[in-house]
């Protein structure tokens, strides 16, 4: 079965081609033999050789065009084009006391922009993550701040609050968590979350998307936590659990690609980040995984 999406024959737009993309966590790569990955409808071959050197080529073997490599946050990143900037930064990542855990790479039948929007969404906690990240009747989302960074490189949303029965693994009582979101890449988002009143602990959750096609992604999930009580495995399990609750929602959105025309879908006040995100994608000329006009829909 091929993904029968309507790829317009103009081809992949340059702005999207020139980005860095994650292909997987490095620690999980077997050494000494080639692996295939798919990115933006393109097959890529990657190799971790016995000396720890990473390489990537376009195509099904190592004789194709060599691709640039970066290692960031424990992931292998590459590009099919010529990036003008490095992979975005998470300044807190290497702070002492932080445990940085790769929580998993899960395939989802959705577009990268839809997955980003779901990650940024505040209004679904009491329904999709009921009794964990939200519960009725504490569903009200108070107005929060969204701004685009001066150089248009990222979106930041602050002062987002949500009452959460289990704000993080091991929580024994409900807490009004405070969220900060960063979108430093059209297909990557970060969530900075204060998880308890007891300390100034901020956990950072990263969603780094590898678009396989316009309607299928690999979601690489990163947890950067100050939790000192739970095992890596327990933290991974919780993150996979929460993400897997979103999966059927993502896989049942119609259309799979994100409509950028904000008149196509009705937004509420709580959707301020999503509205900003759609406008931001438009302003950058990002088309892959989106629908620009209602008329283009099937």
């Amino acid at each position: 079965m091929s993904n029968s999406h309507n790829v317009v024959s103009v081809g992949l737009e340059e702005v999207t081609r020139n980005l860095w993309y994650p292909l997987g966590d490095i620690a999980g790569l077997p050494a000494g033999h080639d692996l295939q990955r798919t990115l933006l409808d393109t097959t890529i071959t990657i190799r971790l050789d016995k000396d720890g050197e990473l390489s990537a080529w376009e195509g099904t073997n190592s004789y194709g065009r060599g691709l640039p490599i970066r290692q960031q946050f424990g992931y292998l990143w590459t590009s099919l084009g010529t990036p003008t900037r490095e992979v975005f930064d998470i300044p807190e990542f290497n702070h002492p006391g932080r445990r940085n855990i790769h929580a998993g790479s899960i395939g989802v039948h959705t577009s990268a922009p839809r997955a980003v929007e779901n990650f940024l969404d505040l209004g679904h906690f009491a329904f999709v993550h009921r009794d964990y990240l939200g519960v009725e009747p504490f569903t009200e989302i108070k107005p929060y701040r969204v701004r685009v960074a001066d150089d248009n490189t990222e979106i930041v949303a602050t002062q987002c609050y949500a009452y959460q029965p289990v704000a993080a693994l091991g929580a024994t009582e409900g807490y009004e968590a405070e969220y900060l979101y960063r979108v430093p890449h059209p297909y990557c988002a970060l969530l900075y979350k204060s998880v308890s009143a007891d300390d100034a602990r901020i956990d950072i959750i990263g969603l780094f998307l590898q678009p396989i096609t316009e309607e299928r992604v690999v979601a690489h999930m990163q947890l950067s936590t100050l939790d000192s009580l739970h095992s890596d495995a327990a933290i991974r399990e919780f993150q996979q659990f929460i993400f897997s609750q979103d999966k059927p929602i993502l896989e049942n959105q119609v259309p799979k690609r994100l409509p950028l025309d904000i008149r196509t879908e009705i937004s509420a006040r709580a959707d301020a980040t999503s509205t900003a995100y759609r406008r931001w994608l438009l302003s950058h000329g990002v088309r892959y995984g989106t629908i620009q006009s209602e008329l283009a829909q099937e």
């Binding site: 999980g28 790479s105 899960i106 395939g107 009747p137 399990e237 659990f241 999966k247 059927p248 509420a268």
Partner: protein, 227 residues
């Protein structure tokens, strides 16, 4: 009782469903299938040389197969044997048949899901084709059972381990790219299944609607219209 379990495994969910229906408490031992591949490591292979989940330990016995676990749980207490009725040979035959069918769902729907979500090797196109063929058979069977006023796979007025074994793969089918759009009888069966007392969720499964118009919370409407 110990259950070696992974939260996102469809077969483990079948056992957790059974334990929930029977109200049995147990110790859960998480074994991480993805990304750690713990099931393939020596420590777990000592517990199950097949390298698979779920595994149940109880009373000195070890059970390494999902269906075996379901049967054991159904029969270990005489009050719960309706889940695996043994009075008539015909019923045992029917339940066996639909347990075998659940294995077909595992190797088609289940394999497609593992391929699409966790990148396991599979001939996924064949898996999906097979899945649709099986779902067509299941839908027809359930439709005619409904016409005979039976809610479950094996006739009778009670669900059996066959329903439990099939449910996880069916309800998670879309994760493997198989839609239930053309299987309306199957969709109704999943709703009925979700209403069995003691039903438990897993990530990726939602509840059925409450049957009575229960009180659901709503703030009184404000005076002003929005926007």
């Amino acid at each position: 009782m110990k259950l070696y379990d992974y939260g996102l495994s469809a077969n483990c969910y079948a056992v957790r469903l059974m334990l929930g229906f029977l109200g049995i408490s147990y110790e859960r031992i998480p074994i991480e299938l993805y990304p750690a591949l713990e099931h393939l490591k020596p420590d777990f292979l000592k517990i199950n040389p097949f390298g698979e989940l779920p595994v149940l330990h109880d009373d000195g016995e070890a059970f390494l197969d999902t269906h075996a676990i379901l049967l054991y749980l159904a029969l270990r207490d005489s009050r719960t044997t309706s889940w695996y009725p043994t009075e008539h040979a015909a019923t045992i035959g029917q339940v066996s048949m639909w347990l075998a069918f659940a294995s077909r769902l595992d190797s088609s729907l289940g394999a497609a899901r593992l391929h699409d979500a966790f990148f396991c090797d599979a001939d996924v196109d064949k898996c999906r084709l097979d899945a649709h063929r099986y779902l067509g058979i299941l839908d027809e069977h359930l439709w005619f059972e409904e016409q005979g006023s039976n809610d479950w796979l094996c006739g009778g007025s009670n669900p059996t381990v066959a329903d439990i074994a099939c449910f996880p793969h069916v309800v998670l089918s879309e994760e493997g790219g198989v839609s239930l759009l053309y299987y309306p009888a199957i969709r109704r069966w999943t709703d009925r299944f979700k209403r069995i007392p003691g039903f438990t969720l897993m990530a990726g499964v939602f509840d059925a609607a409450p049957l009575k118009s229960a009180e659901t919370y709503r703030e009184p409407s404000g005076a002003t219209d929005d926007r």
